[in-house]
Symmetry: C2
Subunit: 383 residues, 2 copies
C-alpha cells in the first residue's frame, strides 16, 4: 500500500495574537499550501483540529469558514476534537482520509484562540474535559500534575531539580524557534524559585496559554513524488485512551494511552523505541516529559529524569526531545499543538530546521489529551 | 478491497430527556454493542458525533467519558463535529477508520443534549455556525430557509401547500417510529395555519429541538461475516462543502454540497440516483427535502414538490423518503441526526423496520450541515 506522505507544513507565530480563530487558521492554511506548492482547489479533504472555538469565541462551523476563506470548496471538511490532543487526532484523521483512499490531497489545520479570555476562563474551559467526579471537587489538570510529580519524585528517588531542568532545556531550544511564544532562556534557579502552582510544581513547570495555528498537507506517497523530492512519510500511527477518571489508574506514573498508542505505531512502522532519533513530547507540565519518555520506551521506568540530568535529551544529545522548545516555550494553542509537533519533526527530517537542526531520519510525536486520557503517537521517516 | 459493513445499530428515545450527554451516549452505545453482539473490549476506534456539548452543557472530553463508561479503553476516541451534519461526518470518519485498516471494529455514537436550554439559547449556539458577515445581521438558519422557500415557490411555480405536505407525510411516518419525538399525525390545515416563523414557513415547517443519541458498529465485511449474516455495507460515501456565506451562492435553490457529495458516493458505489429505493433526507426545514431530492438526482430541478404532491415519496410510493419520520417528527439532536439516518436505512435494508418497513435493498442518507455548508451522502446496500 502507498504510504501517507507529508509534502508541506506551516505554523504561525505562537503567542498572544490579535487575530480570531478563522484568521489564524487561514494564515496557517495559506502558508502550508504555499509550502507544498498545492493550490486550494486540489484539496479534497480539509480537517480542522480545534477543541473549543465555540466556548472561547462563540464561533462554530470553523471548518466551513476555512474552506471558504481558502477557496477550497467543495473540499469536504470536519472538525476533530480530542481536547489537548486534537492536533494529534487531526493527524490521525488526515492519515485515515488518505490511507482509506477517500482523499488524494488532505490538509489539516489546527488552531486555538485563547488569550482574549482570562486565565481563569481558559482554565475553566480546559477543566471541563475532566470527569465530573473529579471536576466537581476542583481537581484540575494542574492538580493532577502536582500529585503525579510528587509521586514520581518519591517513587523513583528523583530530585526536584530534574523537573526544572526540563524547563531549562526546552526554553533553551525555544530561543532558536522563530515561531515560539517565549524565546528566552531561563536558569534553574528561576524555575525553582517561581511561584508554587501545584506543589511541587511551580510556574515554570507549566506551559502558557497561547494563540496559534499550524498546518500540514498529506497525500499518498505516489502523489507526493509528483510534487517534490523532499517529503516525509508517516510510517506508524496509533491512538489509545486511558481511564477518564484519573484516580482509577493503577499506577499514576504510567500513562497507558502513551504505552498503547505507541505500541500500535511501532508495530505499524516496524520500528523499536531505540530507532527514534528525535521526538516531540507533550510537555504541558514538565513531569509529562519524564512520563512519556519512559512510556514510549526511550528509557526505563523511573529513569527518564536521569536522561535529562545527563543531557541525553539535549539538542546535541543521543535523543533530542522537544527541539522546537516544546509546549513549554513554544506555547500550547490546544488544537494546534499536535500539528505543530508533527511540523517540527517534518522540518527536522527535511533538514529544514535551521538553528534547531539535528541529525535524524526517524522522528516521533506524542500528543496527550487531558491527563493522558487519550493519546496519539505518530512516527515519521524521511523518504 | 474489503467493503465496510455495519453490523449493529441503536437509537435512544428522541425528545425531551432527563439525562445528560454522557448518559445518552452510553445508552445508545451499550444498545448498539448488544445489537451487534460485540463486547466493549473488541472496539478499536470509538467516535463521537457531537456539535456542542461544551456550549450546551459545559462538558467537553465526552469521547473519553464514553470510552470509560462503556469500558472500551484503550480504544482510540475522538469527537467529530460538522455542526448539524456531525452525524454524517462521524459515519465518514468511522468508514475511513475501517477502510484505512486502522481499526477492525469501530463504534460511532452521535448525540446532543439541548432541551435543558431555552430555545433562544439553543438557537444562538446553532446560529454561531453561520458566517459572521451574515450572523451579525441576524440572518439565522430559519431566515435562510424562509428566503429559500420563497424563491423556490416563485421560481418553480410550486404551491405553498406542497411544503406543508412534507410535514404531513413525515409526521405520518413518525407515528410508527417508537423512538420519534412526535408520534402524531398532523393535517395540512394545522401546518398551514400554524404561526409564521420565517415567511412563508410556519412552525410546522421546522424540526424541533431534541435530546437523543444513536450508534452504529462498523467493521470490514470479512469480519462482519464472523458475527452475522444480517449486515449492510456502505457501498458509497462522500462529503462536500458549499460557500460558508450563503448569499454568495449563484443559485440558492441548489445545494452544491448535496450535488458534489452525492456524485462522489454514486461513483464509489457505481450506482445512479434511480437505483436508490429508500432515502433519509435532512428535513430540518420542509423546503430542504425538496432541494435534496432534486440535488441528489431523484427528481428534476424544480420538480421535487410534484413528487410529494403525487405521493411518490410516501411510504408506499416509488421512492419512500424519511420513513423514520425525518428530523421533522423524529427530532433533531444535532450530533445524533446523521447517525439516526443511517440507523433507519440499516433497519430498512435488514428488514427490521417494523411498521415502517418498505421493500428496499439500496438506500441513501443525506446529512446537511448548516444551510448546506457541508454535506455527507452515504449509500448502503443489503449484503
Amino acid at each position: 500500500m502507498d504510504r501517507v506522505a507529508i509534502i508541506g507544513a506551516s505554523m504561525t507565530q505562537f503567542g498572544q495574537r490579535d487575530a480570531w480563530i478563522r484568521e489564524l487558521l487561514a494564515e496557517a492554511g495559506q502558508a502550508a499550501l504555499a509550502d507544498a506548492d498545492v493550490s486550494p482547489d486540489e484539496i479534497e479533504h480539509l480537517y480542522v483540529s480545534n477543541m473549543a472555538s465555540g466556548e472561547f469565541e462563540g464561533q462554530t462551523g470553523v471548518p466551513n469558514a476555512l474552506a471558504h476563506d481558502l477557496a477550497a470548496m467543495p473540499a469536504y471538511t470536519a472538525r476533530i476534537d480530542q481536547t489537548s490532543s486534537s492536533g494529534g487526532a487531526g493527524v490521525y484523521a488526515a492519515w485515515q482520509s488518505v490511507a482509506s483512499g477517500a482523499s488524494d490531497m488532505t490538509m489539516l489545520v489546527g488552531g486555538e484562540k485563547m488569550t482574549h479570555r482570562s486565565t481563569a476562563e481558559s482554565t475553566d474551559v480546559i477543566a471541563s474535559l475532566t470527569h465530573p467526579v473529579e471536576y466537581k471537587h476542583g481537581v484540575t489538570l494542574p492538580s493532577f500534575a502536582g500529585l503525579t510529580a510528587r509521586l514520581y519524585l518519591d517513587t523513583y528517588d528523583a530530585p526536584r531539580e530534574s523537573l526544572g531542568k526540563v524547563a531549562v532545556k526546552n526554553h533553551k531550544n525555544g530561543v532558536d524557534n522563530p515561531h515560539a511564544q517565549f524565546r528566552k532562556e531561563v536558569d534553574l534557579d528561576t524555575v525553582l524559585d517561581s511561584p508554587v502552582v501545584a506543589d511541587p510544581l511551580r510556574l515554570y513547570d507549566f506551559c502558557p496559554i497561547t494563540d496559534g495555528s499550524a498546518a500540514l498537507v498529506f497525500c499518498p506517497e505516489s502523489v507526493a513524488r509528483e510534487y517534490t523530492d523532499d517529503y516525509a512519510v508517516i510510517s506508524g500511527i496509533g491512538g489509545a485512551t486511558d481511564t477518564h477518571v484519573v484516580h482509577e489508574r493503577a499506577d499514576p506514573t504510567t500513562m497507558g494511552g502513551v504505552v498503547n498508542s505507541s505500541e500500535i505505531a511501532y508495530e505499524m512502522a516496524d520500528l523499536e523505541p531505540d530507532d527514534i532519533e528525535v521526538a516531540e513530547l507533550h510537555d504541558m507540565f514538565t513531569i509529562l516529559e519524564f512520563l512519556q519518555s519512559e512510556d514510549l520506551g526511550f528509557f526505563e521506568k523511573g529513569e527518564g529524569w536521569k536522561a535529562v540530568e545527563e543531557g541525553v535529551t539535549d539538542r546535541d544529545g543521543d535523543l533530542p526531545i522537544n527541539t522546537s522548545g516544546g509546549l513549554k516555550s513554544k506555547g500550547h494553542p490546544l488544537g494546534a499543538s499536535g500539528v505543530a509537533q508533527v511540523y517540527e519533526i517534518y522540518k527536522q527530517l527535511s533538514g529544514d530546521a535551521g538553528e534547531r537542526q539535528v541529525d535524524a531520519d526517524v522522528g516521533l510525536a506524542c500528543n496527550v489529551g487531558g491527563f493522558g486520557n487519550c493519546v496519539t503517537t505518530t512516527i515519521m521517516e524521511s523518504r
